[in-house]
Structure formats: structure tokens, C-alpha cells
Symmetry: C3
Subunit: 151 residues, 3 copies
């Protein structure tokens, strides 16, 4: 049902991204799943590269946030088998690759938060921290990690 | 009792800050409460703006950390009803808006940690990460998130 | 057994680092231990100082990551008594003090992740976020925090 909703909203759940390094993309501990930081990539190809406020616009940043969230959901699915198992999205942390003087991280991060609300309704209501950073892996425009609770 | 202690220490618990965007300020999962990142604001007005080490002093940074912690407590109260329900403060993460060359994030973050110890005693003893970042939402001097366990 | 493995790999578990400030180095909540952010220090002496990509090489960054992970394990041991109590390493967060233009945080963070795999095998498989930041406490080359679950 959740995957149908994602399609209905016009989005595609990417294949789970392979970690860039020696770690795993998601882990289940009791009823919680924690994801590794997810970049805005599709099939291992980075789609949004650079600094928001410089060579990435706010609108592109929002699209990047949507894509990173979809990657989070994809790696969560790879662990729990079915996104309908998610009882509640708990926490989203958004690291925005920010040019000097760019302070609209919340607007960028809304790309992530609003998509989760559209997909999950009340179960998508989460706490969030959005911060700027000066550099990210492979010059990604942002990196997002998520914690969810299963039913 | 905890709220009386906050008053006795000369502090005021602000109204819970409205999120800047599409998320919720705090969430309760089993016995844990996670907060969203809290800025040093009162009634939606940012009180400490700019970079520590440039146009915000270390002392102002400490005051900003106190204010962000009070905002964390305020949103925690909005979820659990009563700060006396807190059994233990677990974790505090402090993102300090840092000018180039400013490396005294721990001193700034002590504004948060010391206030928690004064308010909660042993129940206020927490782990902490304090890091510098180059930009934060609406140019806030810092952003703090907290995790607590309820009785 | 885990401590023997650390020695066998040629590493030394440092004394638990004293926090730079008013917080505790690790906390146990139910079966989870959360660490404070750990710097690449030995006996209170910072061993890797500066920005990766400028005055700290990637290889030095990896060594710094190994040292911070050993400090995480040391403070975890100070709380649970014995590293054999660890059932699973859950999450590692790596904040890399990054010069402008340095985007190879994953390679640096691999110093941490690969050491955990060598020490713990499957129990060392964790999720990870690695991000760049413009400044860190006392100009440390990186800061690492960890979450583990006990048996």
C-alpha cells in the first residue's frame, strides 16, 4: 500500500544504494531501523552535486532531499521487506552542503519532510534536524539519515 | 518540581517553538522522547544570530545554548506533560555556527550541559557531541537536539 | 576475547578519555550504550589536529578515525565492564574536519568502519553517516560517536 502510494505520487523507489564504503545501508535493532546517510543518487549515480546557494538551487535541493528520502526508504525496505511494516517515522537528519551565507536549510529539508507526510500521513510525522555543512561525500548536495519504528 | 527548579535558577521555560517547517517538535517512542533541532529563539524570535568567533562571543554562545536547551525542554513537556516524567537526559547534540578558526565548541556547548546538570542533577548527566558547522537555519548561532528517557 | 583481538590486530585500547566539558563519556540505557563524541586523543593529548585535505592527509585521517573508534570502545568498556558484552555495533557518526573542496569523507571514515569489522566481525557491521564540517573542538581532525547494543 505504501509502495503503491509512492507510485501514485509519481515517485520511483530506487534500488537500495550500495554504501560508498565499509558499512551497511540499514540495520534493524528490536523494532527500530536506522539508516546510513543516504545521498541523492540513483543506481550509484549522484544526481545532485554541489552547494545549495551556489551551484544548486533551493528547488533542486528539495528534489535532492526527496531522492535521499526515497533512498532511505529503499534501504529500509531491504531490511524489513515491506514498507507497510513501518509504524512511525521517528527522526530525519538533513546535512545540507551549504555555500557561505546560505541559511535556508529548512526549506531544502522540507523536500524530505513533506514527501514523508504525503506517503505515510500521520505515520510520517517526525522530528528533524537540518544543518549546513561545508563539504559532503563526493560533493553531494545533501545527505539524509532516518530512524523508523516498525509495527 | 523540575519546573520550580528552572524558575529558582532564574530561567523561564519558553512556549514550545513552532517548527520552521513540515515536521513536529518532539516525538515519544516507547519511553524515549526525541526532539527536533531547537534554535535559540523565544516566541518565534531568534535571539542569537551569527557565527560564534565572529559576531557572537563565546559567552553569548553559552547563553544561546541555555536557551536552545530550554526550548528542548519546552517541546519535551509538550509531549509528556510534565518535566518530572524525565528519568534521564541521554544525549545532547550541539551544532555550533562557527567562524573559520573557532574551535571552542565545547565551551559553548557547556551552556547546555551545565544547565541540565543544575536542573536535573544526576538525571541530567548526558553524553554529548559538539561540532562546528559553517551555516545554520536563519543564521542561528547554534542548534541543539536532545534525547531523554521517561520514568 | 574482543580485547585480545584488539591487541592481536596491533592496537592498544586507550584509557577512557575525560570529557572536555560538563558531560559524561558514555551512557547505558536499557541494552544500548551511547558514546559522547570522541576525538583522536591518547591520554588527553590530541594526536591528529587540523583539516583533512589541507594539513592532515587522508591516510592520517584514517588513523585518526581508528583512534577515535578505540576511544569510543574504551568509554563503552568503562560503562559495561567488558567489550565482549557488545552484541552489535549499531551506528557510527563521523564528523570530518574538512578543508574546502575535500569530499572524500567516506575514505577517512573507513578507518573507523574497517577496524570495527576486523575487531567484531559480523557484530561490527553498522550504519554510518560521514559528513564534513568546517571546525571541530580543539581543531581535532575528526570526531566520532557510536551506538552499540549489549547482549
Amino acid at each position: 500500500m505504501i509502495e503503491a502510494k509512492i507510485k501514485e505520487l509519481g515517485y520511483i523507489l530506487p534500488e537500495p544504494a550500495k554504501p560508498l564504503a565499509a558499512y551497511i545501508p540499514a540495520i534493524k535493532i528490536d523494532k527500530m531501523i536506522y539508516t546510513a546517510g543516504q545521498l541523492p543518487s540513483v543506481n550509484g549515480q549522484l544526481k545532485y552535486k554541489g552547494k545549495v546557494g551556489y551551484n544548486v538551487s533551493e528547488e533542486e535541493g528539495q528534489k535532492a532531499a526527496e531522492l535521499s528520502v526515497l533512498n532511505c526508504l529503499s534501504v529500509i525496505k531491504s531490511v524489513c521487506g515491506d514498507l507497510d511494516q513501518i509504524e512511525q517515522v521517528i527522526k530525519v537528519t538533513v546535512f545540507v552542503n551549504s555555500s557561505d551565507g546560505f541559511t535556508n536549510q529548512p526549506k531544502v529539508a522540507n523536500g524530505a519532510s513533506e514527501l514523508l507526510l504525503k506517503i505515510f500521513g500521520n505515520a510520517g510525522k517526525h522530528v528533524r534536524s537540518a544543518v549546513g555543512v561545508n563539504e559532503l561525500p563526493i560533493d553531494a548536495a545533501l545527505e539524509i539519515e532516518m530512524v523508523v519504528k516498525l509495527k
